[in-house]
Amino acid sequence: MSAVAAKPQAGGAMNPGAMAVGIILLIIMLGICYMVSPGIGLVALIGVIIGGVLIGFGVHFVPVGGAPAAMGQAPGIATGVAMLAAGAGLAGLFGGAWAAEQGFVIAIVTGAVGGGMMMAITCMMVNFVYVFGMGIPAASGKVAKDPITGDTQAEYKSQGTEGHGLPFVSFVGGVIGGILGGAGGTLIYLELLDLYKATLPGIMSVTAAQVMPIAVSVAGIFAVALFLVNAVLTAYNITGTIEGPHDPKFKRWPRAIVASAVASALCGLVAVLIVAF
């Protein structure tokens, strides 16, 4: 294998040793939580880890082109991976938190749809500006044909570029990313809200009604913070830009899943310890 051919594999290589260390760390943190708060605290932490993993996985779907996309030199949305995913996920969290009173499943689905809506609108407007503002059709630089529509891509790439705009598969990837991010952020919020609603009245010696604003605020801040942690972590895994689920970089997701789980477990443990220790 030549050095040139080895490059992409090295970037996306899985390190079994690091993955094993990550899983051991995850088990240790779950064990600490079990020792401190075996009931509601452990359930909340598991919810936070699942939410974090959903966010980390979802960010891989979001087509982000960064600076090259802003010049029409590469496909994707012309902004940062972490920030776009955070924007979508937080829009979902906003909707999910609003629907929290209507039940667990409704709230998570509402959050997911909110994130998906944000991405659908944003991706459509990106193509709108490319096509009607700049006269440039969408073209992928990573695949010969769009895996969903079968549209050929190469002849629609302008000279000297990697492609531009959002081919349909990237649009769908963006919506899926928003859905997963919105669901994950809402799940984290709901789990922490339940934890704080149950524990804060006893700690602060106030009624359940009085503690609600504090519980909502703290759970909301932790949900936003965990969102940013997982989005930024995944951005490092992607290293710059990604076109969506058809991009070879997408195959790196198992590494991000473990990293997101460990980071979420650590942050979630702090969120549990402030009320359970």
Binding site: A67, I106, V126, Y156, G160, V175
Partner: protein, 299 residues
């Protein structure tokens, strides 16, 4: 029924505020050159192209607007707790947040431009004086509109999140929507106005941004004027649609089917935008055609 009518009115108002915020945000970021296209503003002097473009991209637009809107909302919330009229409190909170934005813009321009001294790029004091105030004015509009819509969502529509947290969430979303929609128009269409229309900028042309205007050297006010026409308007529509449709589906359909009504409407909205996006993509392929005719002719 009265509640629903009231809710629809508030939803329309928040949608209008969000549209203004989106347009002001994109124009502000283009005048300040804060989005991803700023890579070219930073690169140009290194390639030998000196310019008079403002340069304040220390952070991306989403975290910057997350900070400023959270700051404006937090201060407005504190002023309201001091029994100050909400409108005045939001104005005061936004003004104080804009001062932080002004400090950020000033230090960012001086720091980033000074780092290019080895390539001969001067720090223009007149640019600093004339551009900073214009970005601050646009930032005020964006922050004020965002904090005002957060207050409406919290106070009138009853969202559980406190005002500062809503400011953070919608500030980040504002920056994400504005940079996603507005950046390509500034980056490709304005900075590389010397390149062919209807094609991406060849990678070999990187750094060779347009530096001259109709009279004299181009500055960032010219860029704000140009991008406000399409990039700014598109960013405003994008953020306005996000806020309006999110609230609209919740206010009107949340009570139907124990919450599932809002979910189904949300899914329908996603499907509608998917169809519209596909239509735009196919329309462009049909009307603009492929780029590879030259290759076919030579073969």
């Amino acid at each position: 029924m009265v509640d629903i009518v009231f809710g629809i009115g508030i939803t329309a108002l928040t949608g209008a505020l969000a549209t203004i915020a989106g347009a002001a945000e994109d124009t502000e970021s283009n005048i300040g050159s804060q989005g991803d296209p700023n890579s070219q503003v930073q690169l140009a002097p290194q390639m030998g192209f000196m310019h008079r473009i403002f340069n304040k991209a220390v952070a991306g637009e989403p975290p910057a607007y997350g900070l400023w809107c959270a700051l404006g909302a937090g201060l407005a919330w504190a002023f309201m707790a001091m029994q100050i009229n909400p409108v005045l409190a939001i104005v005061l909170g936004s003004v104080l947040a804009v001062f932080v934005q002004g400090v950020y813009a000033t230090t960012a321009y001086l720091g980033r431009t000074a780092s290019l001294a080895k390539f001969g790029q001067p720090v223009y004091v007149d640019i600093l004086k004339s551009m900073t105030t214009v970005t601050m004015a646009h930032a005020f509009i964006a922050i004020f509109a965002t904090v005002a819509l957060c207050q409406l969502i919290n106070g009138a529509l009853g969202h559980p999140f406190p005002l500062p947290l809503l400011g953070l969430i919608w500030g980040i979303t504002l920056g994400a929507a504005g940079s996603a929609t507005g950046n390509p128009y500034y980056g490709k269409e304005r900075q590389y106005q010397n390149q062919k229309f209807g094609a991406g900028v060849p990678i070999s042309a990187s750094g060779n941004i347009v530096r001259y205007a109709e009279a004299g050297e181009r500055n960032s006010l010219d860029n704000g004027w140009f991008t406000a026409k399409i990039g700014g308007a598109a960013s405003g529509i994008c953020f306005g649609l996000i806020v309006f449709l999110e609230l609209w589906r919740t206010i009107l359909f949340e009570q139907i089917g124990a919450g599932w009504g809002a979910v189904i409407v949300g899914i329908l909205i996603i499907l509608i935008f998917t169809v519209v996006d596909r239509y735009i993509e196919v329309w462009a392929r049909k009307n603009y055609g492929p780029y590879s005719e030259i290759k076919e002719a030579s073969s």
